[in-house]
Symmetry: C2
Subunit: 146 residues, 2 copies
């Protein structure tokens, strides 16, 4: 697989891929570096790639289980960054937020399957920093990784 | 820092961040999973985050050096993925492509500084798979990481 990130101006870049013609805007969020915040920052995209990878797994696994899909579903990811250069991630925490009438145990099972078997990006990132997740259904935490 | 990835429909998601109101579309590229290719895939975004991180460094470092900025600059990233689940990256190869009249040695120095000191995402990803880069100026390879 191949991607391309092309400079536009200042700290703005356009990200493309070799599968389709969609594009994503990237920009630094740091005004001291010339960033104007007109796009996702590289670290945003790194965290978004983790969330997107496992979120797609979860929808796919729920469909395979013939379980009722949630009415809404989003993943929040918080990343804590080192104070010193290079500012690598020290810890990453995912919260899976579901709303709807999906079965609680099936949701937990789908998330666990993704985190333990399928989500290549989570599995890679677990090797380089603290990594935790929890699962919330209709506002209540139903699972926290031990 | 915090990001959020919200399900839209099928395998389509919208990625947001807590710094600005820009958004990025995500989608699977695999029709068997229900992907329609209407966005970057998670693995695309993972590779784009690496390229964006080091590309911003390079522009920033060239400015600090008061070196002539390139007329154009893009980074191609190729990722080779495991055949078996989980399909983690086995190798990642970056090609820095510059066009213009920037000094060859200054470009190489800026890329090396980013890769060795500043680019947190490259430094993290080097720990989990084979990682190489080369630098091309006006069509000629001027540096390859040994």
């Amino acid at each position: 697989m191949k991607v391309s990130v092309a400079w536009k101006e200042n700290m703005r870049f356009e990200a493309a891929n070799d599968s389709n013609d969609s594009r994503a805007d990237m920009d630094s969020t740091d005004p001291e570096l010339g960033g104007e915040g007109k796009g996702q920052s590289p670290k945003h995209m790194f965290l978004q790639s983790i969330a997107g990878c496992t979120a797609m797994d979860v929808i796919y696994i729920l469909k395979k289980m013939r379980e009722k899909l949630p009415d809404s579903f989003f993943i929040d990811v918080r990343g804590e960054v080192a104070d010193e250069m290079p500012k690598v991630f020290k810890s990453i925490n995912l919260v899976y937020n579901f709303k709807g009438k999906s079965d609680k145990e099936k949701l937990i099972k789908a998330v666990k399957l993704s985190q333990e078997k399928y989500c290549s990006i989570s599995i890679m990132v677990r090797k380089i920093c603290d990594f935790k997740y929890s699962v919330v259904l209709n506002g209540s935490t139903i699972h926290t990784e031990k």
